[in-house]
């Protein structure tokens, strides 16, 4: 008997050991899997950290320094001096920085509505599937994949300032479309910029809106028809609410893109004209690329940070404004009260 129980104990012990070993093996394989997973994302993380994460952090650091990438001896900590300089409007450089925001705001204020409305209507019509709609769709989208410099070449020559320009030769005029001075006689250049932007940027939103239109359930239109809604009621109560979320997302992308206005002001400028329009992105690029301004890199980083904050501010406002608002309705309460009231007279009267 005794030997039996010892045997049992032995068996039990060995079983336990086996289970423990299995657990260990499982743990090990888990660890190995975990390491494998991390190894897979390691290259991405490495590149991401070096080229996406470190720069903004360094940017914050640089903005408190006088930094010159070409002369490391010149680097020192200056505290808030760069920021003080930004808000010192007597400095011509700060003045030009802040005035560049004006250019950007004009562009956003006029360009954003255009970038929604025009694609919206084009998408509305393409969804009626006129003959050849696939061709039209491709054609409207194609400018989107053309590079901005080519856009600049085409539109620059179309709107060339002397009689050699296509538009001028058609009109028989010699209008200087692209050489106005910013903030003075610049309206014509803005017109060209918006025409060119519409040509270049309509495609993406047009395609996205068209898909959104297509995805509105057909039965909703039919339900609205049964309920007595006409053409406009259908657009108001069915189309718009159903594509609203798409429009919101597009609007966000447009806003972010347009706040970073850069290419258009460079490529749409008469070659004889020194009075270039300056947007914030343009401002930052200009002072970075110019070797003679290398010593104020810290200041430029501070400007970039200020600009980033403005962008974030506007995108947040846009997101909040377009987000879902629900005014809490209290119909359930009201309804319960209604039925209480309806029976009130009879019950109270019988009680009294």
């Amino acid at each position: 008997m005794a030997s039996n129980s010892i045997l049992e104990e032995y068996v039990e012990a060995s079983e336990e050991a086996e289970i423990a070993e299995k657990k260990k093996a499982q743990k090990k394989s888990r660890r190995r899997e975990s390491a494998f997973g991390m190894a897979l994302i390691a290259p991405y993380i490495l590149i991401f950290v070096v080229f996406s994460l470190v720069p903004p952090v360094l940017g914050i650091a640089f903005s408190f320094m006088s930094y010159n990438p070409y002369n490391t001896a010149d680097i020192r900590f200056v505290g808030f001096q760069n920021y003080i300089n930004i808000f010192n409007f007597d400095l011509p450089i700060s003045k030009s920085f802040w005035s560049s925001f004006g250019t950007m705001f004009i562009y956003v204020a006029i360009g954003t509505p255009l970038a929604v409305i025009i694609p919206f209507f084009l998408a509305y019509f393409i969804n009626m599937e006129p003959p050849g709609y696939k061709f039209f769709r491709a054609l409207i989208y194609f400018p989107n994949v053309v590079s901005i410099t080519i856009m600049g070449i085409i539109f620059g020559n179309m709107f060339a300032g002397d009689s050699s320009g296509l538009i001028n030769s058609w009109l028989g005029t010699e209008i200087h479309w692209l050489s106005g001075e910013p903030w003075k006689d610049d309206i014509l250049r803005w017109v060209v910029i918006f025409i060119a932007t519409e040509w270049w940027c309509t495609g993406t939103n047009f395609i996205i809106f068209a898909a959104a239109f297509r995805d509105v359930p057909k039965s909703l239109y039919e339900a609205c028809e049964m309920d007595g809604g006409g053409k406009w009621k259908k657009i108001l109560h069915v189309t718009i609410p159903n594509i609203k979320s798409t429009v919101t997302v597009c609007l966000f992308n447009i806003l972010i893109g347009y706040l970073g206005l850069y290419g258009q002001v460079i490529v749409l400028n008469d070659f004889t004209n020194a009075n270039i329009m300056v947007s914030p992105t343009m401002f930052i690029q200009h002072y970075l690329s110019d070797f003679s301004y290398a010593r104020i890199t810290g200041y430029v980083c501070a400007c970039a940070l200020m600009f980033g904050i403005v962008v974030m501010f506007f995108s947040t406002i846009q997101r909040k404004a377009m987000g879902e608002h629900r005014t809490r309705s209290k119909r359930t309460e009201d309804c319960i009260a209604y039925f209480a009231d309806r029976d009130r007279f009879t019950t109270e009267a019988s009680n009294g």
Binding site: S34, F36, G37, I41, Y44, F51, S52, V54, P55, P56, L58, G59, F62, P69, T72, L122, F125, M128, P130, G132, K134, R137, A138, L139, P143, V145, V146, S147, T149, I150, G152, I153, I154, F155, N157, A160, G165, N168, L178, W199, T204, I207, A210, S245, V249, G260, G263, I266, L268, N273, T281, L288, S289, A294, C301, F307, G308, V311, M312, S315
Partner: protein, 307 residues
């Protein structure tokens, strides 16, 4: 064939037909607006210099004798030497290809890890990516350039192959970690039924086999989409190359950058040449677009909303 009876159109059919006609008219107007600049570009590139001066109002050459193609042949040799444009073209080509490859490879690795491999910090990683999307990229440009310049200066890379490779490293690599692409790929992988992968695993397939035999074939269209988006972005990027390549040799420039010399209204002598250059630069984009436009449009339709 027995001749078909002509049916009287019902009210809604008439309505639909009317709508189609209106839509066609609108689209025709739009087509003129969106198509005309291309015609103008093409026409101007084959007009002779005389025609460019005397007949700026015409889209195409005024007479048969005024057609010229010498600007196209003039790309490759310029005053006996290889012109800069073909070199810029090659620069753009290899850097774009490298960017596309790197992007797709990184996205595939990350998406596979996130969806099919259990590892620590997975959730933190994804959450971080989501949050990071809200931070505008403009903040990074200035300090990134400062980093680039400082390291370049410190290493003394001012000329030669080293400098060229260093510059192109900074052109290719930073753009390869776009978060939107990662999420696109991740969502695609997430839509693969887990059961398929699990059953493959229980059949004894290794990660590499699962990836190559199951995941990759299913992810083909998403990969193509990312390739297209990345290709367009990289081929057409202007701001960052302009910064990094400022002050460098003309032969190091990318094509898009090289063309900035012709932007805006150019003087008479240059119109034809700049237009021909544009046509030349547009060829790869056009080829890619023609072959993939329906894929691209479908992809944009389905993913653009989630962007």
């Amino acid at each position: 064939m027995v001749k078909k009876q002509k049916r009287v159109l019902s009210k809604s059919e008439r309505e639909r037909r009317k709508n189609k006609i209106v839509a066609f008219c609108v689209m025709a107007v739009a087509a003129v607006f969106f198509g005309f600049p291309f015609l103008y570009m093409l026409g101007s590139s084959v007009k002779s210099d005389l025609d460019l001066q005397l007949h700026p109002e015409l889209i195409f050459p005024s007479s048969f004798g005024e057609w010229t193609f010498e600007r196209y042949t003039g790309f490759f040799m310029y005053a006996g030497k290889i012109a800069t444009l073909p070199i810029a073209f090659l620069n753009s080509l290899w850097s774009t290809a490298a960017n596309v490859l790197l992007t797709v490879a990184l996205d595939l690795l990350v998406a596979y890890a996130v969806i099919f491999v259990r590892f620590k910090f997975k959730k933190v990683f994804m959450k971080f990516l989501y949050l990071w999307m809200a931070i505008p990229g403009v903040i990074a440009t200035a300090p990134m350039f400062a980093m680039y310049a400082t390291i370049k200066n410190a290493l003394g890379l001012h000329e030669g192959v080293g400098a060229y490779l260093y510059i192109y490293l900074w052109l290719i690599v930073p753009g390869s970690t776009g978060i939107f692409n990662v999420l696109l790929m991740r969502n695609m992988f997430a839509s693969i039924p887990m059961e398929i992968v699990e059953s493959a695993r229980s059949d004894g397939a290794s990660n590499m086999q699962i990836f190559r035999r199951i995941v990759l074939p299913l992810a083909r269209s998403t990969i193509l989409l990312i390739v297209l988006f990345t290709f367009n972005g990289s081929w057409n990027s202007l701001a960052w190359p302009l910064l990094v390549l400022s002050g460098e040799s003309k032969t190091w420039e990318t094509l898009t950058l090289a063309l900035t010399g012709y932007t805006g209204s150019s003087n008479w002598g240059q119109v034809g040449y700049s237009m021909a250059s544009s046509v030349f630069a547009l060829i790869p984009t056009l080829i890619v677009f023609l072959f993939t436009q329906s894929k691209m449009i479908d992809g944009l339709s389905s993913t653009g909303v989630k962007k």
